[in-house]
């Protein structure tokens, strides 16, 4: 049951929401759509689900053209950021509603609802109304409605965004288990890079209506095909520097000179954009010879397990992310070392070269 997008676009009036996109999704996969707000995640999902029609292009489901097929005939389910349930129906009836519309026998409905409710720990709440439940339970009900009917396509549009931290973590853990062993193609939209990393599966990075990169999550993270993809998939934001490589020297800005070692030495001479993830820029007390950075601390965010430090080097802001507590004072001069072995090089146009 593959889902294939063939050169689809989505426009409304003069605004373009999705630029020409072609992509194939395989059955049994968990696909994270990662991008900032308004990057086109929701529109892309709705076009794939059939709620909105693509302006151009075709959508093939298992080789069959479904571009003009109405959404209720496509066997899809969707979970939204808001908790969408029928307000007057009990949790049981809510979960059963898609099965009732499909005309499934009462015995089967009972059995399937019972199983899903068990899985989502809703069994004690089955007779209650959604308004009597906590936010987390309301969203579980909505998720239960989505998974009870064995859809071919399941869309989760930022389903955890309206939940508080604890509930989010809880559900985040349960979600992949729900879909394991199913043949459905699951899509999960989020703005948070670490959510994509937690889920694994595949990730598509989106930017302004385009899929920038699609592939296994770890690969997209480690090997961004472009500066854009790297920026989308980095939190805190990746450090990007304009560098010039001449022979064995790497010049950052106008005055910082580092030694171009290892694979960097093999780059042809020229100017590049160098990306360095914050956790490859670490505070140090010793003076590093090759990749030394010293700057004034601007902001520190210490969560306990890690410290994020923003510091200024000759007018350019760098971000460092290190494990543990590093009590640096704002305004002080601090020293950092960059791990150049993990740097990523892009052409000035943003294409990955190393």
């Amino acid at each position: 049951m593959t889902l294939e997008l063939q050169a689809i676009t989505r426009r409304e009036g003069t605004a373009t929401y999705i630029y020409e996109t072609s992509q194939v999704f395989q059955p049994g996969t968990f696909n994270v759509l990662l991008g900032a707000t308004r990057s086109g995640k929701t529109t892309l999902m709705q076009v794939m689900a059939g709620i909105q029609k693509p302006s151009t292009g075709r959508i093939l489901h298992n080789g069959k053209d479904v571009t003009q097929t109405a959404v209720q005939k496509r066997n899809v389910s969707m979970v939204y950021q808001q908790f969408i349930n029928y307000p007057m129906l009990s949790v049981y009836e809510n979960i059963a509603s898609p099965l009732r519309v499909a005309g499934i026998a009462e015995v089967d409905i009972k059995q399937r609802v019972g199983k899903v409710a068990e899985l989502l720990r809703l069994t004690p709440m089955l007779q209650r109304r959604p308004s009597e439940l906590s936010g987390g339970q309301q969203q579980r009900t909505a998720i239960a409605r989505a998974v009870v009917k064995d859809s071919d396509l399941i869309f989760l549009d930022e389903p955890l965004a309206n939940l508080d931290y604890k509930l989010r973590e809880e559900l985040r853990e349960e979600l992949p288990k729900l879909f394991a062993g199913r043949n459905a193609i699951v899509f999960y939209a989020t703005t948070e890079p670490h959510e994509a990393l937690l889920f694994g599966g595949n990730t598509a990075t989106l930017h302004e209506g385009r899929i920038v990169q699609y592939g296994p999550t770890a690969e997209v993270y480690r090997q961004p095909n472009s500066l854009l993809s790297a920026r989308v998939f980095s939190d805190p934001p990746i450090n990007v520097l304009h560098v010039e490589k001449r022979g064995g020297t790497l010049t950052l800005g106008s005055d910082i000179k580092w030694k171009a070692a290892g694979p960097i030495a093999s780059l042809s001479d020229g100017t590049y954009e160098m990306g360095l993830r914050p956790h490859h820029v670490l505070p140090t007390s010793a003076r590093e010879k090759d990749t030394q950075l010293s700057g004034q601390v601007l902001v520190t965010e210490i969560s306990g397990s890690e410290s994020v430090v923003h510091f200024d080097v000759h007018g350019r802001t760098w971000v460092s992310q290190a494990a543990g507590v590093h009590p640096l004072k704002v305004g002080d001069i601090a020293h950092f070392k960059a791990d150049l072995a993990h740097s990523i090089f892009f052409t000035p146009q943003g294409q990955r070269v190393l």
């Binding site: 709620i51 959404v71 209720q72 899809v76 969408i84 307000p87 007057m88 898609p98 519309v101």
Partner: protein, 287 residues
């Protein structure tokens, strides 16, 4: 440490208190005052206890007016609420026509009551009015100053014309506040339009509809200007609603005591019905 109390806050409440006192408490107490006394000229008052209340409650005239009033409110609500909801459901939700529809719907609400009465008075004239002539030319005898059913028909039609918009606007506001995702979710389920209405729109409109029913009930129960302008309560006493009866008692006959007792009973009826309705509608809501 001694706690200091700052009583300045009370001064800020004072203006509101004075206003409420002057426009609600004082007039109400005046009415209460009249309702327990016999009034003569020259400011002579004598105590009469609950005499006026028991008189009013056992008076056939009051019963007839109350029944008329209840019938009128029931008819008007039975038409305006479904009709208003129906129009709201069919109004466009976005695009060029939204402001046009909203303005058109608001127009009747902008017209003063007595003007509404005058417009319909002229329009329904059996020999000159557009409506009156049209109905008569269809062969249906229609004359609102002679036939009670014509008078009722005209009053109901006028009220529907005047106030359905209010229900529509309230329902419309409720409808557009339902997130799109609900409709999408229903669409994905393959729910039929009736199911969408029954299980999404109606439950989500419950609060605004409660308000709409309350407003329309209270307003229609207190209707005065329109029947006064149209027929003055006639023909006979067929459109003499509670408010008209009250004014006749108070101003026409100058029976201040009975009129005061009647006002209080009238007020209590509205209060009790509204409270009962609201409590019934909200009983399944938790805070």
């Amino acid at each position: 440490m001694k706690k200091t109390y700052n009583n300045k806050a009370w001064f800020f409440v004072l203006p509101v208190f004075i206003m409420v006192a002057f426009n609600a408490l004082v007039p109400l107490m005046t009415v209460v005052n009249y309702s327990v006394q016999e009034t003569f000229g020259d400011n002579v008052f004598t105590w009469s206890g609950v005499q006026w209340f028991s008189d009013t409650l056992t008076s056939d005239r009051f019963h007839a007016a109350l029944l008329r009033q209840l019938e009128f409110s029931a008819i008007v609500l039975a038409i305006e609420i479904p009709l208003g909801l129906f129009i709201a459901l069919n109004m466009p939700k976005k695009g060029f026509w939204v402001p046009v529809c909203l303005v058109l719907m608001s127009l009747p609400l902008l017209i003063p009551w007595n003007v509404v009465g005058a417009i319909w008075n002229i329009m329904a004239l059996p020999d000159l009015g557009l409506l009156g002539r049209a109905i008569n030319s269809l062969g249906i005898p229609y004359n609102y100053t002679r036939q009670p059913y014509s008078a009722w028909f005209t009053l109901v039609l006028m009220d529907v014309w005047h106030w359905t918009s209010l229900v529509t606007l309230l329902c419309y506001a409720g409808l557009v506040s339902i997130p799109d995702a609900y409709y999408q979710a229903a669409k994905i389920d393959g729910a039929r339009p009736w199911a969408v209405f029954r299980y999404i729109q109606l439950p989500k409109l419950r609060h605004v509809m409660t308000i709409a029913v309350l407003l329309r009930f209270m307003d229609s129960f207190m209707i005065y200007t329109e029947p006064q302008v149209m027929t003055g309560g006639g023909p006979g006493s067929s459109t003499t609603f509670l408010s008209l009866d009250l004014v006749k008692t108070a101003i026409g006959q100058f029976d201040l005591g009975p009129a005061a007792a009647m006002s209080l009973i009238y007020f209590l009826i509205i209060l009790v019905i509204s409270w009962l309705f609201y409590t019934l509608m909200m009983r399944n809501e938790e805070a």
